[in-house]
Symmetry: C2
Subunit: 371 residues, 2 copies
């Protein structure tokens, strides 16, 4: 393991880039998709399977782990890596997204956010400092600054104020983060769907200085074109030699389009959540495995796919498992979908290295049905 921790830019093809993250628990090739392990596990899957699929880094949710089983318990058990038996890199979010998703119940102050636990209704107060304390206790390789996530749509005036607060909170996060070299702290650019506020936020967060930058508050209901616009106006304002992370995104098309606009990192619950709802991703678009058309379909979910599911099971069997309410259905769908996402990113990296990303993108968009 190199002593250097951070991002190395390896190559570009238009705005698309390949690179490498050097982290405490290993190296990560970018562009990368990070499976989401909300409560200390990527839902339905074992760490062993995640490695089989080729996961290089997974995400943990600060909000969930703080409430249950608690960051102090996890620290006592040796940190999140040891606790969950995952020895590759972990990125933790700040907890902000979850508390802001239920703002009706919660209250923002300059100091932080009051919120109620979704588990037992107990009251909590999350601040930039507490978010850092929790993420330090979890021991993730990459921590995220505690920011305000503004819903869509929101007024320009409100978003402007929020950008100011996110900047002040980002400073407090950097201050509060223990200066251990094991954990990188990434800053987050907000600004809703307003180009001027994105530029303002990028400039302010960049001034503070972080080893990586995320774009928050996108893919929250705004039209795709607006998301692309925001990427196009914000990404060029970020330092070339730092990692760029588009939070909570997205569909396979979103990933291909995000990379096209210079993004290095993604995370999303879609492959696992949609898998649990019976959706199976393929290069031709998603299948709804519940459909009667698959009841006697002896083909694997995806022809030419090398994953365990496609090597062993038919659509007919997967449909049967799903209709019968078998947990194995949720596992197999999640497994294949994450394999699909990670294989897609591998193809993306190869296409960039071979300087044919635009052709790859065009071909992908032509073949993939469903956005």
């Amino acid at each position: 393991m190199s002593e250097y921790r951070g991002f190395e830019l390896l190559g570009t093809d238009g705005a698309a880039r390949t690179g490498k993250l050097y982290l405490t628990h290993g190296e990560v090739e970018t562009p990368i998709f990070m499976p989401v392990g909300t409560q200390g596990t990527v839902k339905t899957l074992s760490p062993h399977e995640l490695k089989d699929i080729g996961a290089q880094i997974i995400l943990g949710n600060t909000y969930h782990l703080y409430l249950r089983p608690g960051h102090k318990l996890i620290a006592e058990m040796g940190g999140l890596h040891t606790f969950s038996s995952w020895d590759r890199p972990i990125l933790t979010d700040s907890g902000g997204f979850q508390v802001f998703s239920h703002l009706g119940l919660n209250k923002i102050t300059e100091e932080g956010v009051f919120f109620r636990s979704h588990i037992d209704g107990s009251r909590h107060f999350l601040t930039p400092e507490l978010s850092m304390e929790i993420q330090n206790a979890l021991g993730s390789d990459i921590m995220m600054a505690f920011d305000e996530c503004v819903p869509y749509p929101a007024e320009h005036g409100y978003v402007a104020q929020s950008v100011e607060r996110t900047t002040r909170w980002a400073k407090r996060c950097k201050e509060a983060h223990k200066k251990n070299e094991e954990q990188l702290l990434f800053g987050i650019v907000q600004g809703g769907v307003y180009a001027d506020l994105r530029a303002e936020s990028a400039s302010r967060i960049r001034e503070i200085g972080f080893p990586g930058y995320a774009l928050g508050g996108l893919s929250v209901g705004e039209p795709k074109e607006l998301m692309h616009e925001m990427l196009e106006c914000t990404v060029p304002l970020l330092p070339e030699h730092k990692a760029r992370y588009l939070m909570g995104v997205g569909t396979p098309v979103d990933l291909v389009e995000g990379v096209y606009r210079g993004i290095d990192m993604f995370d999303c619950v879609m492959p696992t959540r949609n898998g649990r709802n019976g959706m199976i991703f393929t290069w031709d678009g998603p299948l709804n495995i519940k459909n009667a058309e698959f009841s006697r379909d002896s083909r694997p979910p995806e022809t030419d796919c090398s994953c365990y599911v496609c090597r062993n099971f038919s659509r007919a069997y997967l449909r049967h498992l799903y209709k019968a309410g078998e947990i194995l259905a949720l596992r197999l769908n999640s497994y294949h979908n994450l394999h699909f996402y990670l294989t897609l990113m591998e193809s993306v990296r190869r296409a960039i290295r071979e300087k044919r990303y635009e052709a790859f993108r065009q071909e992908f968009l032509l073949r993939y049905q469903g956005r």
Copy 2:
């Protein structure tokens, strides 16, 4: 693969025996425990994992597979082995147990049993002939005769009549079973908790002649002593050189006690169902992983256990997963529990081979807390 299909007695130690089943999809060492794959999958687990754990043969439920997805569909898809991607032996039950479990709704005639589907309430009529047709379509290695399962308690007079019917049905099953050599058909001895009726049934079923014999209608609520009595009076009446299968049994202690009385084969949902309810089996007895005492317990479920779960996870983590409602909890508990059952049977076989089964049994009963 040998051309011979059937049972070979390899050794004895008191009434306990070791042997081997030669089946179309492979050989099975006895005494054996068979994980239950009700709907074409052992709940929560993949076929790959079942092999990791050392499963040699699994069970499929005729009732469930007939109703969903239907035996004809499974036959079209190449049979149950191909459909579920399990290439080792499968035993199918007759469907009788499930239809008799809901007798309030169902109706027995000499011809067969009317029942309503638990899925959609549709009416069906299961006969010995249909049970054979379904099991032939599924393509199991061992098929079971369609018998009447009498609840406990039941009057002597009723059980006597039922034994007669089970005998007539057994004849019809043998008659209806396609004479393919790939599928062995086992007979079932009934007789409730009445020694004279068990003897009568054993004699009548033996007269018909099968390559293996099961004991049905035990572990249905009767006291353990009565079950042991029934084994002690019935097993000696069965042919020495045929396999003996105690259906739907049981706890780890039941297995050890069954082998002690000459049983070769067992099946039960307990390791998987109880696992899904938070019970983890160990050589010292079961743990309830939900208990607060495990919240900071960094030990594996079982010290000295070589299974994937025990090599990777702590009780604290398993408790967290369970409390958080994570599917991985159900998987890991089921995995460890089946590994425990199969390892127990491996130890049982070794003890018999080494002619120290009585000592093994005494030691096990002393150490294992909880029946």
